[in-house]
Subunit: 231 residues, 2 copies
Amino acid sequence: MSPASPLDSLTTAATPRWRTATEFVEATLKAAILEGRLPGGMPLRQEELAERLGVSRMPVREALRQLEAQALVEVLPHRGAVVAEISAADAADLFAIRRALEPAALRLSIPNLGEAQRGQAAALIAAMDVEPDPGRMGLLNRQFHMALYAAAGHPRLLVLTEQHLAAFDRYLRFHLAAQGRERMAQQDHRAMLEAAAQGDAEAAVTVLEGHIDQAAEAIARFFAARAAQRC
Amino acid sequence: MSPASPLDSLTTAATPRWRTATEFVEATLKAAILEGRLPGGMPLRQEELAERLGVSRMPVREALRQLEAQALVEVLPHRGAVVAEISAADAADLFAIRRALEPAALRLSIPNLGEAQRGQAAALIAAMDVEPDPGRMGLLNRQFHMALYAAAGHPRLLVLTEQHLAAFDRYLRFHLAAQGRERMAQQDHRAMLEAAAQGDAEAAVTVLEGHIDQAAEAIARFFAARAAQRC
DNA sequence: TAACGTAATGTTGGATCCAATCAACGGTCG
DNA sequence: CGACCGTTGATTGGATCCAACATTACGTTA
């Protein structure tokens, strides 16, 4: 930990500058895929991406490799990259992972949770109440969950959890469309924060498990309905 | 699913040929790191790796990117890549992840487990009984666990599980050194297979959780002893 | 007509070259 | 004597060029 200093505001404000072109391309593509602007199955031509992003093909190649490792794109040798498909099965897969990871992270985090994280979580709940944009909604939801897990230690567990929470963003628009966005299970969020504040890990985990299961069912119903509609 | 055919044996036998140089480099480095031949903290110079592996720097660069996404190497911009460090904290992190993922995978898999996987698992237990090489031991252990989880569906969950089971290989030598290798909790393996064969998911999960916790404690003790010895 | 073989085209994988950045060293100034 | 500053060497990041592969279309042959 570096000592706190007024100069920190400089660096934190300057952080969103990309250090390398590869990082820029990776972040740009990742955001575009997660926010649904690039549909599943869409081919990603290296040359075209390079031209549009104002870089050469090389940073694009490296970024695609990293996105491949995150299962956001699928790369076939000599055939190029396509945006990973979304499907009911993939959503269920994702929920199985979240259902395993997030309760574990929450259990580990709650005993160490500090006032700072609780305040941040409360602020994020309030922000979600008034957020109109579904895109930012996903970000706020992710930040809220991660605020609750932040004290778990175990950096790898937290990175994994955040990655799959972010991957869920690709399905979030369906979720919002399916069950009206007025309350994205906000009462669950409040209950989790309440239980966390009282140090009751098991109560918080119970709410969280119901929260995830409910979201999983909503998405499954949405896909089932869409499948029925199409056939 | 493609229809089964006698020709499948050809392709499966020919699979271990590398399709691209990048794949070759990635697999080579990954194996070297997991088997402990490359110690944590060791710098990986692109030029040197390229020369030793008989390729140019470019496949090395791409391979390092993918290994970075798997947390096997750490890449600092303009400063190069180093093999990820191992530590008591990282081992605990890894075990927290395994402890979350593997019971979930096992629960999902047991109801669908077929005779083929059970037979494979039994064969792997027998193979572990007579395997002298610790390096291959890790592979057999991983294959045994994955055989039990294989019927879970949810490909992403299985890939994650296998990745972190493989990451554990870096600590396996310590584990074997710590608690004698004569039985790497082979009775746990047998008990899990037994419970799985009877379709008793909860019993199998209970054994598995104890299995993982025991390994975690053995590793923690080993690190504690080493720290005490060094100071 | 259908299947095979071949050529053309576009895309990716790999190699080489150049530029940007970082670390270390040495000199200078306080 | 210590801290700051420019320079040098080494290494990575990025661009361009060439080769290998896959797909498509076309022509040939049974």
